[in-house]
């Protein structure tokens, strides 16, 4: 096992933690945190696996991760704004399942 694989496994761990938290938490801020941690996990897998051979670092995954980080911050900003709006309208930063019925 190389260091690359070690980090990739850490990435998988982060991803799965994020999925779990996303599913069980009710508070939207937590869900958003969970998505961000999931994202970090994916980025880590994406970049770490490029380092399996020690010749030179592959710039393509790095570029993809930078793109991914920017996309993630955009999505996070939007999600947070939506959360604030929901909280302003319903008084709670949660999804209310009951009211749809």
């Amino acid at each position: 096992m190389s260091i690359a694989v070690l980090y990739a496994l850490v990435g998988i761990g982060l991803f799965c933690l994020g999925v779990y938290a996303l599913m069980i938490h009710a508070h939207l801020l937590r869900k958003i945190l969970a998505l961000n941690i999931m994202g970090s996990g994916v980025f880590m897998v994406l970049l770490a696996l490029a380092g399996r051979t020690e010749i030179m670092p592959d710039p393509v995954p790095a570029a993809m991760v930078i793109t991914g980080i920017v996309v993630a911050v955009s999505a996070t900003a939007f999600a947070l704004a939506l959360m604030l709006k929901i909280s302003a309208v319903t008084g709670r930063a949660e999804l209310n399942d009951e009211e749809e019925k």
């Binding site: 897998v45 393509v60 793109t67 955009s74 999505a75 939007f78 209310n96 009211e99």
Partner: protein, 490 residues
């Protein structure tokens, strides 16, 4: 003129034009309606141009930046992309016309940039041949769709939007994870290169699982459909139309494309699973639709059911390849037209009576005949009654099912039609009766009624256009990858 048609880089125009339109609408919101309609008209013409090009030259390739794959990104168009682009432009045009009458000033200033971003994302997605680029288009698509849902602003819409956003982001991340695994297995992001090299391995199986799960979540296949009804039912009606008709189809298209071109050699063996989910989606979605008391919620659940049909092709493709895929594409485009028309009709009756309670539709058949006609015609196609696009699609699908003795699927195909008839005619039946408590009515702009009716008529007309559309679909033989796989197997 002919030269012009064939030399213009239509695919590039299809991506950049709506993007420029979005920026212009954002900068100068004074004349958004006119700007938007001009953009849509341009997009529509570009699809026609691309179609002419494809008919002349076969598939379209464009190496962006002059860099060939695997270093650069390729744009790619074949019959499958063309049909998706075409349906997008057509539905988009009608929804846009509808929207100019539907929204007030402030709303249309918000609507147009977002909708043009959505259109950019759709076109870019249909034209991309690069896995990571597809991820970016998926994010662009998801964010613009969610922002559009949230425009309605009410409690239900915001909740729906949030649920949709979370599902969409989760889906994108799953997809990206799959892309990462593929990249590190084969060192490329290009679809064509990947498809040449792909073979079964644990990593590829994981990639298949992740990518499929992400896209199924975005396509809202049962049981991952939980986010769809609240989002689609609570958005503004033209937006519901766009979401149900196009956005869901985009991720379906991608799934179809990836399974066909990338994963088919290995995914054929698990295609049955998608079929089972499809069956359950048809049954569950239809039963839920039957229980609804509001038109928009009913129509949204109908989308859940109709999505199920699209997945029946996967188990059938093993023995009836092209017929099954043709069937599913025909169903997809018919559903796009019909469902958009239906949501627009639902928007009209909401505007008219101020509510969409089914039991209180109050003689709409007489008072809003064009809208009810639109709803009915769209319904005919959704049920799969002749003559309509839905009928052709179901016919082909049934043929594919019976050809290989899949009685279970055949029964579900027919049963789904009957169930659809039951829930759709529930609405139509109440359009003939009087409500117990009459409500105040508001006039519906003529444009909104006709936009819905024309689009619904389009769904009917599709019933006669199969000899035109099926050859278009065959450009570049997108379904051939499958046939060769079939030969190898047999």
């Amino acid at each position: 003129m002919g030269d012009f048609l064939l030399t213009m880089p239509w695919a590039v125009v299809l991506i950049l034009l709506p993007l420029v339109g979005a920026i212009v609408c954002f900068l100068w919101p004074k004349n958004v309606n006119q700007l938007g309609l001009v953009t849509l008209a341009g997009v529509f013409l570009s699809v026609v141009g691309l179609g002419a090009w494809l008919l002349e030259n076969g598939v379209y390739h464009h190496a962006v930046g002059g860099w060939n794959a695997p270093l650069g990104i390729h744009l790619y168009a074949d019959g499958l992309s063309l049909v998706m682009l075409g349906i997008t432009a057509l539905v988009g045009l009608f929804v846009s016309v509808y929207a100019t009458a539907y929204f007030d000033r402030v709303q249309s200033e918000q609507f147009w940039p977002l909708w043009l971003f959505l259109l950019t994302a759709l076109n870019a997605l249909f034209l991309s041949a690069d896995m990571f680029n597809l991820y970016v288009t998926l994010e662009l698509l998801g964010l613009s769709a969610v922002a559009l849902v949230a425009l309605a602003g009410g409690k239900a819409a915001l909740n729906g939007a949030m649920r949709y956003l979370l599902a969409s982001l989760l889906g994108s991340l799953l997809f990206l994870f799959g892309v990462a695994l593929l990249y590190h297995t084969y060192g490329s992001l290009d679809l064509a290169i990947l498809s040449e090299q792909i073979e079964a391995s644990p990593t590829v199986w994981m990639a298949l699982g992740l990518i499929s799960a992400g896209l199924l979540l975005k396509t809202a296949l049962f049981p991952l459909h939980f986010w769809l009804p609240p989002a689609h039912a609570s958005a503004f009606s033209p937006i519901s139309a766009l979401l149900s008709a196009l956005v869901v189809k985009a991720s379906f298209y991608l799934l179809l494309r990836l399974w066909l071109e990338l994963f088919w050699p290995i995914s054929g063996s698990v295609a049955g699973l998608l079929g089972i989910l499809g069956v359950m989606a048809i049954l569950w979605g239809s039963l839920q639709a039957l229980r609804q008391t509001r038109v928009k919620m009913l129509v949204a659940y109908s989308t859940v059911a109709q999505i199920g049909y699209l997945f029946l092709a996967f188990p059938l493709a093993m023995g009836a390849g092209v017929t099954a895929w043709n069937a599913v594409m025909y169903l997809a485009i018919s559903h796009a037209l019909a469902k958009a028309a239906m949501f627009m009709a639902a928007g009209n009756l909401l505007r008219f009576g101020g509510h969409d309670r089914i039991a209180d539709l109050d003689q709409l058949a007489q008072r809003l005949p064009l809208t009810v006609a639109a709803f009915a015609l769209a319904g005919v196609s959704l049920i799969g009654l002749p003559p309509s696009g839905g009928f052709i699609g179901k016919w082909l699908l049934l043929e594919a099912a019976l050809m290989q003795g899949r009685w279970d699927l055949a029964v579900v195909i027919v049963l789904g039609g009957v169930l659809a008839a039951m829930y759709l005619f529930k609405v139509l039946g109440y359009a003939f009766t009087e409500a117990s408590t009459p409500s105040k009515v508001t006039a519906v702009p003529v444009r909104m009624e006709w936009a819905a009716l024309l689009l619904a008529s389009g769904a009917i007309l599709l019933g006669f256009l199969a000899p035109l559309i099926l050859p278009l679909l065959a450009i570049g033989t997108p379904f051939d990858a499958f046939s060769s796989a079939q030969e190898v197997m047999s």
